[in-house]
C-alpha cells in the first residue's frame, strides 16, 4: 500500500505524516507540489504547515499548485485523500470539501491536546473507529475556524459529512463545533487537528493515564489501508 504525502513550499508536518504512514504499516511516498505526477500512489495526504506562509488565506495559494489538478481528478475518482490542518484548508479552497476557514475567534494561534468525537466512522479515513468514539488529537492552528453558510451547514449535517466534532472545548469558534468534514462520497476527509502527531508513544498528546502517550491518530491511516484493501 503506497500513501503519498505532498510537500508544498511551507509544508511543515510532511515528514511527520510520512512517519505516521510508516508506523501504520504503509509505504510513504514523497510527492512534490510542482509535479503533475501522483507516482501511482493509492491514497494521498495533504499535510499541515503554512504553505506560502498562509498569506492571503490559509491554503489558498497552494490550492492552485500544479499537482492539485491530479489530486482533484483522483479525489473525484474515489481515491482516499486526507487533508490535515493546512491540507484541510487547501481542500476547502479547492472546493473538494465544503466550507472555509477564518482566523480563530480569539485571534491567536493555539496548540492543545484536543478531544474529538468521531461522528462518522464510515469514511475512508475513519472506518477503524466506532461512531461516537472520543479521541485525543493534538491541534495547532491560527486559522482553524470552520465556517459555511446555513444552507451548507444543514446539508453537511444531514448527509453525515461532519466527521469530527470538538468535545468539551471549541478551540477556535468553529460553527457547530465542527473539527472535520468529508465529501459526499466519504473518500475525501479534512480536519484541523493533527492525527500524525498521535501515532508514536512518547511523542503524542497527554492522556489521562500517562503523558505524551496518545496514539489515537494511527487509526486514521489504518482506516485508509483497510478501505483500500476492501476495495
Amino acid at each position: 500500500m503506497r500513501i503519498g504525502v505532498i510537500t508544498f513550499p511551507g509544508s511543515l508536518d510532511d515528514r511527520d505524516a510520512q512517519r505516521a504512514v510508516r508506523l501504520a504499516g504503509a509505504e510513504p511516498v514523497a510527492l512534490w507540489h510542482g509535479d503533475h505526477d501522483l507516482a501511482g500512489v493509492d491514497a494521498i495526504v495533504l499535510p499541515g504547515g503554512f504553505s506560502y506562509g498562509d498569506y492571503l488565506r490559509a491554503g489558498a495559494i497552494a490550492s492552485h499548485a500544479p499537482i492539485m489538478a491530479e489530486v482533484i481528478d483522483a479525489a473525484n475518482a474515489g481515491m482516499p485523500v486526507l487533508g490535515i490542518c493546512n491540507g484541510f484548508q487547501m481542500l476547502a479552497e479547492a472546493r473538494l470539501l465544503p466550507g472555509a476557514h477564518t482566523r480563530n475567534a480569539h485571534q491567536q494561534f493555539i496548540r492543545r491536546d484536543q478531544k474529538l468525537s468521531v461522528e462518522n466512522a464510515d469514511t475512508a479515513w475513519t472506518n477503524q473507529f466506532e461512531t461516537g468514539a472520543e479521541i485525543i488529537i493534538p491541534l495547532k492552528n491560527a486559522d482553524g475556524r470552520f465556517v459555511a453558510d446555513d444552507e451548507t451547514i444543514r446539508r453537511i449535517e444531514g448527509n453525515g459529512q461532519v466527521v469530527f466534532r470538538y468535545v468539551d472545548v471549541n478551540p477556535n469558534g468553529s460553527m457547530n463545533d465542527i473539527a472535520g468534514v468529508s465529501n459526499e462520497r466519504g473518500n475525501v476527509v479534512g480536519l484541523m487537528p493533527h492525527p500524525e502527531h498521535a501515532t508514536e508513544p512518547g511523542f503524542g498528546p497527554d492522556m489521562t493515564d500517562a503523558m505524551r502517550s496518545g496514539t489515537d491518530g494511527l487509526a486514521f491511516f489504518t482506516s485508509a489501508i483497510a478501505a483500500l484493501t476492501r476495495a
Binding site: 506562509g53 491567536q108 496548540r111 500524525e196
Partner: protein, 614 residues
C-alpha cells in the same frame, strides 16, 4: 557634499533623492580629503574615524564609512567585551575541548554528540527592535538566530525564548508582551520549529527595555559541517534569498548601540519585517545545497547585511573578494549603494560556490523559487573591492573591517551602592503572621503564575521528535529515530541575584541551567550565553560585566563544559538607568536514548518523594 547638520542625508529614503546620484568613489575620496563626513551620527567616535583614515591612508568613501560604522559598532565588533570574552577560550581543560568541533567565533558552536551526529546551538538578543516594534522585532530575532544555525550546515530543529518584560501592571507592558509572544509564535510556528521551553519574567527594570533572547538548536551529520569563509580564487560569491530593501538601515549601529532617547523619530531607521515563509524555503533550499555538496562556504546576513557577510567571508578565507554591488537584487530600486551595504533585510544568505558547480547551485535554488544573483568572486588581491555602476566605491583590507576593529579596555568601577544593597537582607522585611496570605501572594504573582497562556501559542509537536517541553525544566528532542539519541536544553537567568552579586548571580544561573538539564536525564556538554547589560561606558556596568564573565568562565571550568558561543547585548537602559545585569545561560546536554528521559511532575501514585541537595 553632505552638510554636517544633516548627517543622514545619504541614508534616508526621501523622495527627492535621485537614483542616478553619483556615488562617492575611491578616487573621489582620495581627491577630497577635506570633505566633512557624518561619522558621529553613524555611531563612530572621532578617534575611530581617524583610525579608519589612517588604515586607508585617505578618507573613507561614504560606502566604506557605512561599512566600518556598522562593523565597528558594539553590536558587531564586541569592542567593549572582547578582552573579557577571551577567558572562555583560556580557562579550558582537555575534557572541555574533547567533543568541541567548532568553538567560539563562528556563527554558532558545534558539539560532537556521537553516532556521527553533531549539535549546534546559540542564544542571541533582539531586545531593542522588540521594544520599538514588538511583533516584528521578536519575529526577526527568531529568524536571525535560526539563520546562524543553518549557516553551520545544520537543520534547525528547535527554538526557545527567554523573555523579560516590565511591570505587569504598566499600560505599555501588554503591548510589548503580546506583540513579542505573537511574533515568536508566528515566526517559529511558521518555520515548523518546535518551541521547547524558555522563561518569562516581569520586573519594572525592563519597562522600556524588554529582553527578548531567542535560542535555536540544529543537528547535522559530521560531514555536513560548513563554515563562513571565502576560499579558492575564482569561486563565485552568490547572494540568495529575499531581495534587499530599505529595512533597518543603520539599525546595527543606531538601534543596537545607543539608548532609545538618542536620535528621535526622524532618524529612526525603518524596522525589519520578517517573512518566515521565505526563511522556511531558504532552510530547505540550503539543506538541499549542503546535501549535494554545492557550497564551499556560507554566511547568513544579519545585522550589517552585505557589509558583514562580504568582509567576514573574505577575512576568514583567502582575503580577497570582488563584488559588483549592482548585481544585488533590490526590492526598492531607489536604494543608494550605502543603503544596500547597510540594509538588514531578512531571509538572505551568501554562499561561495565553485564555477563548475554554479549551474547545479542555480538549479536547486530555482527549484525552491528562491531569487539569486552572483555578485562577484574570490580574488587573490587581499582586498575587498566593491564596484557600483562601474566605479570603485570600496577598497579595503577585509580584516580591518571585520576582525581588527577597535578594542576597548573600558574603565571599571566597583558600585558603591552594592554594599548597602547586600546589607539590606530579608531580616528587615516585615513578617506576616499568616502563612496563607503569603502563599496566596506568591501564587498570584506574575512571575510564579502559569505560563501556559504563552506556551499554548507555541507549536511543540512539529517534527515529531519533542521528548520534553513545557512544563518540564528543560526541553528535549530526539535526534535519531533509530537509536533514540537526543539532546536537552535549558535556559536560566536571575537578574535580581546578579544585581546583588554579579559573580555569584551568573554562577547561580549557570548552575540552574546545568541542573535543569541534568534533571531531564541528559549529561550537560556545552554552554551558550546571552549577556544583557547596561551601557559599557558606565564603569559600574563594566564592573558587573567583568564579574559575570569571570564567574561564567570559572564556573564552566569547574563543571568542565565549554562555552561555545553567545551574544553580548549592551546599552540596555532607560536614560541613565541600566537594567539589572541579566546573563541568560543556556546549557545543552546529550542523552543516549530519549526513551529514558525523566519528566518533571508527579508520575505515578505511590512513588516516593525525596529532597536532594543542601
Amino acid at each position: 557634499m553632505h552638510p554636517v547638520d544633516d548627517p543622514w542625508s545619504f541614508v534616508t529614503t526621501s523622495q527627492s533623492r535621485s537614483s542616478t546620484s553619483l556615488p562617492d568613489t575611491v578616487t573621489n575620496a582620495a581627491a577630497t580629503p577635506e570633505k566633512i563626513q557624518p561619522y558621529a551620527a553613524l555611531g563612530l567616535k572621532q578617534d575611530e574615524y581617524l583610525k579608519i583614515r589612517e588604515i586607508l591612508g585617505r578618507r573613507p568613501t561614504s560606502g566604506e564609512l557605512a561599512m566600518y560604522s556598522v562593523m565597528w559598532s558594539e553590536h558587531c565588533s564586541y569592542k567593549s567585551s572582547k578582552n573579557y570574552l577571551r577567558q572562555f577560550g583560556q580557562k579550558v581543560s582537555p575534557k572541555m575541548k574533547k567533543n568541541l568541533m567548532v568553538g567560539m567565533g563562528e556563527n554558532a558552536g558545534v558539539v560532537d554528540v556521537g553516532e556521527g551526529w553533531a549539535v549546534t546551538f546559540k542564544i542571541e538578543s533582539h531586545n531593542h527592535p522588540s521594544f520599538i516594534e514588538p511583533f516584528q522585532g521578536a519575529a526577526t530575532g527568531v529568524g536571525g538566530i535560526v539563520r546562524d544555525i543553518i549557516s553551520m550546515g545544520a537543520r534547525p530543529v528547535a527554538v526557545m525564548d527567554a523573555l523579560r518584560f516590565g511591570h505587569i501592571d504598566d499600560p505599555d507592558t501588554a503591548r510589548i508582551v503580546h506583540g513579542v509572544v505573537s511574533g515568536i509564535s508566528f515566526y517559529a510556528n511558521c518555520l515548523g520549529l518546535p518551541n521547547i521551553g524558555g522563561e518569562t519574567y516581569f520586573d519594572s527594570v525592563y519597562q522600556a527595555n524588554p529582553l527578548v533572547n531567542a535560542l535555536a538548536v540544529g543537528v547535522l551529520r559530521h560531514e555536513d559541517l560548513h563554515l563562513a569563509n571565502a576560499r579558492g580564487v575564482g569561486n563565485k560569491v552568490v547572494l540568495f534569498g529575499a531581495r534587499t530593501g530599505g529595512d533597518g538601515i543603520g539599525g546595527a549601529s543606531i538601534l543596537a548601540s545607543d539608548s532609545f532617547s538618542a536620535g528621535g523619530p526622524t532618524k529612526r531607521p525603518a524596522v525589519q519585517v520578517g517573512d518566515p515563509f521565505a526563511e522556511k524555503v531558504l532552510i530547505e533550499c540550503c539543506l538541499e545545497l549542503f546535501k549535494l555538496g554545492l557550497v564551499e562556504g556560507i554566511q547568513d546576513l544579519g545585522a550589517a547585511g552585505i557589509s558583514c557577510a562580504t568582509s567576514e567571508l573574505a577575512s576568514n578565507g583567502d582575503g580577497g573578494m570582488f563584488i559588483d554591488l549592482e548585481q544585488v537584487l533590490l526590492r526598492d530600486p531607489t536604494l543608494t549603494a550605502e543603503e544596500i551595504l547597510m540594509s538588514e533585510s531578512q531571509e538572505r544568505m551568501m554562499a561561495i560556490v565553485t564555477p563548475e558547480k554554479l549551474d547545479d547551485f542555480l538549479a536547486v535554488v530555482a527549484k525552491w523559487d528562491v531569487e539569486t544573483s552572483v555578485l562577484g568572486e574570490v580574488t587573490d588581491t587581499g582586498r575587498l573591492i566593491i564596484n557600483w555602476r562601474g566605479e570603485e566605491i570600496v577598497n579595503v583590507e577585509p580584516r580591518t573591517v571585520a576582525v581588527d576593529g577597535p578594542v576597548y579596555d573600558r574603565p571599571v568601577a566597583y558600585p558603591t551602592w552594592i554594599d548597602a544593597l547586600q546589607a539590606d537582607t530579608t531580616a528587615s522585611l516585615p513578617r506576616s503572621a499568616d502563612l496563607r496570605t503569603d502563599m496566596l501572594a506568591l501564587l498570584g504573582s506574575a512571575n510564579l503564575s502559569d505560563k501556559s497562556w504563552i506556551t499554548n501559542q507555541y507549536d511543540k509537536y512539529v517534527l515529531g521528535n519533542t521528548a520534553l517541553s513545557f512544563p518540564d525544566d528543560g526541553g528535549m528532542v530526539r535526534i535519531d529515530e533509530e537509536s533514540g539519541l537526543g539532546f536537552a536544553v535549558a535556559t536560566d537567568a536571575n537578574g535580581r541575584y546578579s544585581q546583588l552579586d554579579p559573580y555569584r548571580g551568573a554562577q547561580l544561573a549557570l548552575a540552574e541551567a546545568f541542573r535543569n538539564v541534568a534533571a531531564t536525564g541528559a549529561t550537560p556538554v556545552a554552554v551558550s550565553d546571552c549577556l544583557n547589560f547596561g551601557s559599557p561606558e558606565n564603569p559600574e556596568v563594566m564592573w558587573q560585566f567583568s564579574k559575570t564573565v569571570e564567574a561564567l568562565s570559572d564556573g564552566c571550568l569547574e563543571l568542565e563544559i565549554p562555552v561555545t558561543g553567545g551574544n553580548v547585548s549592551f546599552y540596555n537602559q532607560t536614560g541613565d538607568q541600566p537594567i539589572h545585569p541579566t546573563p541568560v545561560i543556556a546549557v545543552l546536554g546529550t542523552i543516549a536514548n530519549v526513551g529514558r528521559r525523566i519528566p518533571s511532575g508527579w508520575q505515578d501514585e505511590g512513588n516516593n518523594i525525596y529532597l536532594l541537595g543542601i
